[in-house]
Amino acid sequence: MADAIEINGLTKVFDGLVAVDHVSINIAEGELFGLLGPNGAGKTTLIKMLATLLMPTSGTAKVSRYDVTKDPDKVRRCIGIIFQDPSLDNRLTGKENLDFHARMYGMDGELRKERMSEVLDLVELKDKANVLVENYSGGMKRRLEIARGLMHHPEVLFLDEPTLGLDPQTRRHIWEYIRNLNKKEDITIILTTHYIEEADYLCDRVAIIDYGKIVALDAPKNLKYSIGVDIISLEISNSADNFVAMLGKLKWIKKMKEHDGFLDLSVKNGETRIPELMNIAQKAGVVVQSVSLRKPTLEDVFLHYVGKTIREEETSVKDQVRERMRRRWHN
């Protein structure tokens, strides 16, 4: 199958800051591809270059076989995008926002009405369709943006944090719809996300991006397999400094992470190491309340490659601040 997207050494520098650093990826037609990375990793910048909104500093990218810098008009005709940041006209109603979009994409009257009603149903905004967007809640605005992005069934669809800040139930709906679009309508989808389970559940392949570089790229299953270790999680009640120091000397512990009273250890053949760990705990005078052994999740893969866990609060706080800034300017 042909590639829907070919990225070659794509780089974007903002006054000295390398936001995207020589990224090369090929994404096949019909693939559901995920970009996973912490705040400021360069996901949005990468997507904006692919969507022709930002000019690359160097490197090339082709979307649907068209070069994003040489043939931006043709690229635009093949793509759709749901932006991370607000992108609605607050002085128009929900319906008018959708109508604007549909007409800009040259959808004729019949199709326009049909799709509008379809996507409004999907995001459950039918009864608010004629209300001005400035009176929508944050979640409603997000849902409207998703509805809008799904309206014109492009060849390639970019979703920049599509479900950020939505309640779990709506998120599930959106996931199913995204899946359907991808499988039934054959739309190639590239999504960025902070939700590990979203990437895990939806994506055929996931690229982990950190400081503008791709640090890992594979199917979620293979990624988990690639770090090749088990995770032993110890629940510890008292102070563990001494214990941690003792474990730190052991070669067979690949990685150690303390979080909310738990100590996560990455080790090979986890089953065989538990007794030894119990001994050390006893010597260190640490009370272990529970032990669990699990196969790595995508979260662990992320931790392995990026060295920290994805923190969702960070983004939501940032987004709230941004939203507030916008409101303040709104007279």
Partner: protein, 257 residues
């Protein structure tokens, strides 16, 4: 090549401007207030003052009305052009720029919308000034003044788009208000005849496009103008074409982040 002139897109861009305009009732009232006060207070206050260079037999209010119409057109159309900046701030610009519509059509739609809203305000001020007793030479004058109103508005919408395309955020907004709009307005001869000014100011006034706009409006509405009306028309036409061209060019180049 995307279809250069996309009528549907131009229409929907225009429609959006109109909807936003008519929904912002308080803003319309606000923008009409200043020209109204100019007419009411300057018009009566300077009723009996003779400016040097004032054509004989012309009341100040008659002289002032076309100037104030020029003023509202300037304000309204620059604001409409600069609204690109607000779209950038609220993120809607991304939505517009990522569509497969040619930049030319987007700019044309914006200009059409900006000209329409400016024209509505210009006509309202014309009606108000008539209500306040300013006289006009006849219906043909009114109709030809509309041509000038369109040219003035289109040119300044273009200028607004050009400025907004070069700006990253709204922080420079008041700078533009003070360093672009006010000089253009005050130098245009909207409030007083240019004849009395020192030469260097007259030179500046002559490169101010609004000078020809206000003069053209005066020629149409009260039948007295400084330049030949054809000169006014041609200068404005050039201004308009150049500005729309520059506006479209810079808008084409703008990045959205």
């Amino acid at each position: 090549m995307a279809q250069l002139i996309n009528l549907e897109a131009i229409y929907v861009m225009w429609l959006r401007e109109m909807k936003r305009f008519f929904r912002a009732k308080s803003r319309i009232a606000g923008s009409l207030a200043m020209p109204f006060f100019f007419l009411a207070f300057l018009g009566t206050g300077f009723m009996n003052v003779r400016f040097s260079g004032m054509p004989p037999g012309v009341n100040y209010i008659d002289f002032l009305a076309p100037g104030v119409i020029g003023m509202i057109l300037l304000f309204a159309s620059l604001t409409a052009g600069i609204s690109v900046l607000w779209d950038r701030e609220f993120g809607f610009l991304k939505e517009i720029m990522v569509t497969p519509v040619s930049r030319v059509s987007i700019v044309l739609g914006r200009i059409l919308g900006g000209v329409s809203t400016a024209l509505i305000q210009g006509i309202l001020i014309l009606l108000i000034s008539l209500g306040m007793g300013s006289k006009i030479v006849g219906i043909f004058g009114v109709l030809s003044s509309l041509v000038f109103m369109v040219l003035i508005s289109a040119g300044f919408v273009g200028l607004g788009i050009a400025i907004a395309s070069r700006m990253k955020d709204i922080h420079g907004f008041s700078l533009i208000m003070n360093f672009v709009i006010m000089p253009i307005f005050l130098l245009s001869g909207a409030l007083f005849p240019l004849e009395g000014l020192p030469t260097w100011l007259i030179a500046l006034a002559y490169i101010d496009p609004l000078t020809y706009g206000v003069d053209g409006l005066r020629g149409c509405l009260i039948g007295i103008s400084h330049f030949n009306l054809l000169v006014d028309f041609l200068v404005l036409l050039c201004f308009c074409i150049v500005m729309v061209g520059i506006g479209a060019y810079l808008f084409e180049k703008t990045e959205v982040d």
